[in-house]
């Protein structure tokens, strides 16, 4: 039996995983990163648009600070987020971006003087201040009050990931590539590492660690059409679920991005609309201002996606052999801008659609994009029910996004969570000895070996490719942008059947070493279980919140549903996950539930909301001289590692 020992085992080599490995290493702990492929190919590289941090250097970001970022994030989440976490996040984001700056990201910078931009379809000249020249600049993104999204031309995620991986290489952190974690080793509510399959040799290896971190990204591939990479299959979430002890949070919270190209679902960044691009219907008509006169194309993602779907349902979509779509028009931005700041979009249009977006409209449709749900954690990143198991990045439900995340807040989360959770991982490594119980390791190893040999020896059975297709189709058709009881309960039933069938997968190619069919056979049953969590959670949640939109329950219902869904899979033989709920405490909220300002406000309020609003008013009145930092502490004091407590400096504002 091959066993590898380390202090911290990080499953996932994207931005979140690498940042945690760096944090642990810098605190003197040995860390190993596992990845399905070279870390620099992780899906983080695909983020073109940008990273939110309230630096406020650009003139259109003036007046921005942590508080404004906090408000946008909480509103964006439709009050579903954990406000303590959102607070930690907004306070740390400026530090995260400045650190990445020191580590080599060539962030686009403010250029002093006049510059032409497109706002609301009009060319406008804005003047950047002399004293901001050379600082990190920012662009507009959906759902934000200020231009807060920092970027590197058209390759933000790429440059962030390269800088991060290069830093890890500098520190000598080992990335074990082409390795897949397939089970968590645990006992009595404590995690001891993972069973890992070498994707080249097929060998199973036990990685035994003090702290184990799941940073495996999202689960977009549960859907047939998604902007996500082909490896975003949620296996990290599934192995946490399969412990029966660690819950997943808010799995039904799935975001659809307004502008992926039709039919293949490759994303054109929100930067297209942030920089002034418009959405048009089959008549070339700009329809968003009719639905959302305020933010128009730059309303929050979930809102724009729903409005587009509504408009298509009214018969205003452009018919095509792949179904109806709408147009994204960036022609008004001009060639120079597109070739510099949206070049990746241009390449995608040229290679995959054969069109030139400088002159032609881009066919787009809302498409699965982001997984708000994931391994539920405390603000420290640790599972509430399994010690030594941590999670961060898109894989986690750390829960700063609630039911809808803002564009640019995700790569920001990966790095900020990496910094914060990384410290707690290091603390855990300092406080706990490495426990090596060979019997326990053997038990898990044998179990996984047995499963694989059963798969390889079964003569006849189901095809994992076919099962996956069926699952993806169910999720597309019945657990999509708009949801209702009839579809959801059908989806739940159909997935149950698939789950049963997935116990009888057989292979055509019976080889234990590198074998894509075996990889699929190991993953698909796990993916079906995740799909069940999503569909079942969505069926039970009888309200609409953020990206979870129920046609039969269109109102946000704080009275009954201001709570987080927790799904467990305790009994291996069960047909459905177990669902519990975790209440969000209104009386602790710095920002009590209110209106997001889209459409009509039909919220059913929580009985505590009014009370809390009054209480906050009293606190404010009683402390008239408190500055915004003191006020924040009075309203909701939060824990944050010492390293990240400092106030952030801004141009023209100092540390205020």
């Amino acid at each position: 039996m091959k066993i590898v020992y380390t202090d911290s085992l990080i499953i996932g080599g994207g931005l979140a995983g690498l940042r945690i490995a760096i944090a642990a290493k810098q605190r003197g702990f040995d860390s190993i990163v596992l990845s399905l492929m070279p870390a620099k190919r992780s899906h983080s590289a695909a983020a073109q648009g940008g990273m939110q941090a309230s630096l406020g250097a650009s003139i259109k970001g003036e007046g921005d600070n942590e508080d404004v970022h906090f408000e946008d994030t909480v509103k964006g989440s439709d009050w579903g987020c954990d406000q303590d976490v959102a607070r930690m996040f907004v306070n740390t984001a400026p530090k995260a971006i400045r650190q990445l700056c020191a580590w080599g990201v060539p962030w686009s910078r403010v250029r002093k003087g006049d510059r032409e931009v497109v706002i609301n379809g009009q060319k406008v000249t804005i003047t950047e201040k002399d004293e901001a020249h050379g600082l990190i600049t920012s662009r507009d993104f959906g759902g934000t009050k200020k231009w807060r999204t920092c970027f590197t031309s058209d390759g933000t995620g790429h440059t962030m990931l390269y800088a991060m991986d290069n830093k890890a290489i500098q520190l000598g952190i080992q990335v074990h590539e082409r390795k897949e974690a397939i089970a968590i080793i645990h006992e009595d509510g404590v995690c001891h590492g993972a069973i890992v399959r070498d994707l080249i040799t097929g060998e199973l290896i036990a990685y035994v660690a003090k702290a184990t971190v799941i940073a495996t990204g999202g689960y977009g591939r549960l859907y047939e059409v998604t902007t996500n990479a082909v490896i975003s299959e949620g296996i990290g979430n599934a192995i946490a679920l399969e412990t029966g002890v660690a819950p997943l949070g808010n799995m039904e919270a799935v975001q659809f991005h307004p502008t992926a190209i039709v039919p293949v679902g490759i994303l054109t960044t929100e930067g297209c609309r942030g920089d002034g691009g418009l959405l048009l219907d089959k008549d070339g008509y700009r329809f968003m201002p009719d639905y959302e006169p305020g933010k128009k194309e730059l309303a929050s993602r979930d809102v724009v996606s729903r409005r587009m779907t509504e408009h298509i349902r009214k018969g205003k979509g452009v018919p095509s052999r792949y179904g109806d779509h709408l147009w994204l028009d960036i022609t008004l931005l001009g060639r120079a801008h597109i070739e510099k700041n949206l070049r990746e979009v241009k390449e995608i249009c040229e290679y995959f659609l054969g069109i030139d977006p400088v002159k032609e409209y881009i066919p787009v449709r809302p498409t699965q994009h982001y997984s708000m749900g994931g391994v539920r954690t405390k603000p420290t990143g640790e599972s509430p029910t399994m010690r030594g198991l941590f999670s961060a990045g898109e894989a986690a439900c750390w829960d700063m996004h609630g039911f809808n995340r803002l564009g640019g807040n995700s790569v920001a989360e990966t790095v900020v969570a990496g910094m914060i959770v990384g410290e707690y991982v290091a603390d855990y490594c300092a406080e706990n000895p490495l426990k090596i119980d060979t019997k326990l390791i053997e038990k898990f190893m044998d179990r996984e070996k047995e499963k694989i040999s059963t798969l390889l020896s079964r003569e006849k059975g189901e095809s994992s490719f076919a099962l996956k297709k069926e699952m993806q189709q169910i999720m597309m058709d019945k657990v999509g942008i708009f949801r209702n009881e009839a579809d959801l309960s059908q989806a739940v039933e159909e997935l149950k059947v698939l789950h049963q069938r997935s116990k009888n997968i057989a292979l055509r190619h019976k080889i234990a070493s590198s074998n894509p069919e075996l990889v699929e056979a190991i993953r698909v049953p796990k993916m079906i279980r995740l799909a069940q969590c999503v569909a079942y959670g969505a069926m039970l949640r009888k309200e609409s919140r953020g990206a979870h939109a129920r046609e039969d329950y269109p109102e946000r219902n704080d009275r009954d549903w201001l709570k987080r869904t927790l799904t467990f899979w305790k009994d291996e033989n069960a047909d459905l996950p177990e669902v519990q709920y975790e209440e969000l405490d209104v009386m602790k909220m710095e920002m009590p539930p209110g209106s997001r300002g889209y459409g009509v406000d039909n919220t059913i309020h929580h009985p505590d909301t009014e009370k809390r609003v009054a209480q906050l008013e009293d606190i404010k009145k009683a402390n008239p001289s408190a500055d915004r930092f003191e006020m924040q502490r009075l309203l909701n004091p939060i824990e944050i590692p010492d390293k990240f407590r400092g106030k952030n400096e801004r141009i023209g504002k100092g540390f205020k």
Binding site: A46, P106, V230, F352, S514, E649, R650
Partner: protein, 243 residues
């Protein structure tokens, strides 16, 4: 479309993990669909003809650099290559040469690129990088310099330039264009405090920039159109001044 074609894929099959396996060319027929890429076609083959077929795709959008292979004689990213590009419908696929073969069309670029990064020390060399005060304004940078650095950092480590390099074929330790580009990127970056002498230590020999025969296979096949010619010439000039 009524004139749907049957494409013929000729693929090199070889799994070094299986004892006794020998490299052979196999042919698969796939019905073409509108907008079909090699990514879509290969998955079709895997699902419907041969589930053992190995290849690497991650982003399937030309962003991550996973899927480089030799397509009808030339290295390119398979995910963004449309099958309609090939009028006769014959498509020959070989794994990228110059890298350790994992199986069929899958090669170990990761190992090579990590070694390259370690060799050129692909990170900002600045003793203060880890003690910057994160609360304060970041160090300013000229907006043009930032853009120029990004232009050189757009490399996706796909390996096309490595496979197209004649010098690499003769001299296994040759750094290749991807390494030169990385080095040029750091040499341009004011945050990196390395001196020309230090860069010379890394590339100032025949395994480095003086071994390059400037046949520019790298320039021709880089899917990100990086300016290899100018950067190699620039590095040479700068290094020639050192000793």
């Amino acid at each position: 479309m009524s004139d749907e074609r049957i494409l013929k894929f000729h693929i090199l099959r070889y799994n070094p993990q299986v004892k006794g396996d020998v490299p052979t060319m196999k042919t698969y027929e796939v019905k073409e669909a509108p907008g079909m890429t090699i990514f879509i076609a290969l998955n079709d083959i895997r699902e419907n003809h041969d589930p053992s077929l190995q290849f690497d795709f991650i982003c399937r959008a030309g962003i991550c650099g996973s899927c480089a292979m030799i397509i009808n004689g030339h290295p390119d990213l398979a995910c963004r290559t449309l099958t309609s590009k090939f009028p006769d419908g014959e498509i020959k696929l070989l794994p990228l040469p110059g890298f350790e073969l994992i199986g069929d069309l899958s090669v170990n670029t990761g190992k090579f690129m990590r070694a390259m990064s370690e060799r050129v020390e692909s990170w900002i060399h600045d003793t203060y990088a880890d003690s910057v005060d994160l609360d304060r304004l970041e160090e300013r940078m000229d907006p043009d310099i930032a853009e120029q650095i990004y232009e050189l950092e757009r490399c996706v480590e796909c390996g096309c330039c490595v496979s197209a390099c004649a010098t690499k074929r003769m001299r296994d330790g040759f750094l290749t264009a991807v390494g030169f580009m990385r080095l040029a990127r750091y040499a341009l970056d004011p945050r990196d405090k390395r001196s020309d002498d230090e860069f010379y230590e890394i590339v100032g020999d025949d395994e480095g920039v003086f071994g390059c025969m400037t046949l520019l296979g790298c320039q021709d096949y880089c899917p990100k159109d990086l300016p290899h010619q100018t950067q190699i010439a620039y590095l040479r000039r700068r290094m020639a001044l050192v000793k």
